[in-house]
């Protein structure tokens, strides 16, 4: 017996959603043998950490995020003797790992991942960013399945799955996050006039446990119940006659079968609604030389341009103060220029009079 290797964990976790890199933007097959540029900790020419180096366990309970539960994070050093979990960056690095104290001042509000994972899906594997189920089920004139590829070689359309878009080397989105998530369940109804968030992040600037954290925002369009305004479960796999979508390509049958088997109520009507989901980015930690520079966030239209609720130097200003300030500067400049002009004009006049 031994510890599970990266192969054991990756066999499922790198392929979630059907194939390589679909769900997580930061977990894919490139992490089986990454170099330092991709992941400083897992690099085979570096520390060569396996998953279990950080995902430690206490009584067979693996450290990590469990659905809505946060990972057992304490934002300080965790010695094995007094704390069994080493899941957070701070467990080894502490919350003041930088030589520069101003950088350390960030760690209360900015997660390590935010600066140290400048982009995700950096290992050459594409991750799925958009998945439109509503266009699935088209066949060509010969009744054969259609598979279209995009210019970059990724699948752009598949009869079984619909339209999709993939990306690699992606800039994350950022949000306040205290480690807790709420998931939309079958019982929850929602406003279907705008994209539905399948999970909701907990945290804000005012929450002392929340920090700015990077995310992959996975967008899509999926089947739902427009009368009850709830999600539904379509049956995908199965034989012909079972109602399975991938056997009969009929959403009405697939949803009826799925909901019947799940024993959940639904109105009998179906529609498609746009959805989005936040996927935390925490793997693929880049070498420190490639971490974000200050300007990436401390600028007018930087990475945090959309994150409201707090004052960010370099991004924010008071419009009235700046306007007033610059008006004052312009007036003083104008005043000195006018004063200088009158001085010059009157001196020339005096000179002329002296000559006379």
């Amino acid at each position: 017996m031994g510890l599970p290797s990266r192969k054991n964990c990756g066999a499922c976790h790198f392929y979630g959603g059907g194939t390589d890199g679909v769900k997580h933007g930061d977990l894919d097959s490139s992490l089986f043998s990454p170099n330092k540029k991709l992941d400083v900790h897992m690099a085979v020419n570096g520390p060569n950490f396996s998953c279990t180096a950080c995902h430690t366990n206490v009584n067979h309970h693996m450290a990590g995020r469990y659905s809505s539960d946060p990972a057992p994070v304490i934002h300080k050093l965790a010695m094995p003797k007094d704390y069994g979990n080493r899941i957070s960056c701070e467990s080894c690095h502490s919350s003041s790992p930088h030589k520069d104290s101003k950088l350390n001042d960030h760690t209360d509000k900015v997660a390590c991942q935010t600066c140290h994972i400048p982009r995700y899906a950096r290992g050459g594997v594409y991750t799925k960013m958009w998945w439109d189920w509503s266009t699935a089920g088209r066949f060509d004139e010969n009744g054969k399945m259609i598979v279209k590829r995009a210019a970059n070689g990724t699948i752009a359309y598949h009869t079984k799955k619909g339209d999709m878009r993939w990306a690699k080397d992606v800039k994350p989105d950022y949000a306040w996050y205290n480690g807790k998530m709420d998931y939309l369940s079958l019982a929850d109804s929602f406003d279907d006039s705008k994209p539905v968030s399948l999970n909701r992040l907990e945290g804000s600037y005012d929450d002392p446990k929340a920090r700015i954290f990077p995310f992959k925002i996975y967008l899509g369009k999926q089947v739902y119940d427009p009368a009850r305004k709830t999600l539904v479960i379509p049956k995908l796999f199965g034989k012909k006659g079972s109602g399975a979508y991938w056997a009969e390509y009929d959403w009405n049958k697939a949803v009826a079968a799925g909901m019947r088997e799940a024993g959940e109520p639904y109105s009998g009507k179906i529609g498609f609604v746009e959805t989005k989901m936040f996927w935390p980015i925490t793997h693929m930690v880049a070498p420190k030389e490639e971490s974000l520079t200050c300007d990436e966030c401390h600028s007018r239209n930087g990475r945090l341009a959309a994150l409201a609720g707090f004052y960010l130097p370099g991004r924010d200003k008071s419009d009235w103060l700046d306007t007033l300030g610059w008006i004052m500067i312009l007036l003083t400049l104008a005043g000195t220029i006018i004063h200088a002009a009158i001085r010059m004009a009157s001196r020339n006049k005096q000179k002329k009079e002296q000559i006379k």
Binding site: K102, D105, D108, T293, C294, D295, H298, S299, R300, F310, Y311, P313, G314, R315, D316, K317, S318, L321, D322, L324, G325, W326, M328, I329, T332, L333, G335, T336, H339, A340, I342, R343, S346, R347, Q350
Partner: protein
């Protein structure tokens, strides 16, 4: 009769020019941090700004010591006497080529208007800038010091004071050209020697 006297002591000139340099660099880097300019990049601008800020504080400590021990602080004691004449000179008489109403001497370097302006700079604008700067820089330590407040207030007070310093700099630089010749005041501040009425 005109004669040349040593108007400014060596330390005074050193203090003046180093302070001028530091304030200009602080203004440039500060406005870069504020998002107005793009010269050094945020990281470098911040680093230079903090370095110059501390340098200015140290210089200020030496300058206060110098003013206190030499009695030069008396130059800034405010007075309203003849203030009207000085004001009249700058808005009117200067254009007629009339002499400056203030008789500048070693003991009375500053005219009443200068006394007020420099005193305001020294006891209001620069301390406001210094305190808001420290407040801004150490905001992470506020809770430990039992203080609360928000970063935005600190930043905005610091920005407002910066505009005041910049306005002072503009006017001060312009008025330095109003001596006997365009550069006579600046020359005096460099060499220390200035030609005055006997």
């Amino acid at each position: 009769m005109k004669m040349k006297i040593q108007m400014y002591a060596r330390f005074e000139r050193f203090w003046h020019w180093l302070q001028a340099f530091l304030i200009i660099v602080l203004l440039i880097t500060g406005f870069e941090i504020h998002g107005v300019l793009k010269l050094l990049g945020f990281a470098k601008a911040h680093q230079v700004h903090i370095f110059c800020g501390w340098s200015l504080i140290i210089l200020g400590v030496f300058a206060i010591f110098w003013h206190a021990t030499t009695g030069e602080w008396k130059q800034y004691v405010p007075t309203l006497e003849n203030l009207d004449k000085i004001a009249r000179y700058y808005v009117c008489d200067i254009f007629k080529g009339e002499p400056h109403p203030h008789c500048k001497t070693r003991e009375q370097k500053l005219n009443p208007l200068q006394r007020l302006a420099y005193l305001a700079l020294k006891i209001f604008i620069l301390p406001l800038q210094l305190l808001s700067g420290l407040w801004y820089y150490y905001y992470n330590q506020w809770p430990a010091m039992g203080l609360s407040g928000n970063l935005e207030t600190a930043a905005l007070v610091h920005t407002a004071a910066a505009f005041m310093v910049l306005a002072f700099l503009v006017i001060h630089t312009y008025l330095s050209t109003t001596g006997g010749t365009l550069f006579s005041y600046i020359k005096a501040m460099i060499t220390g020697w200035e030609e005055v009425e006997d």
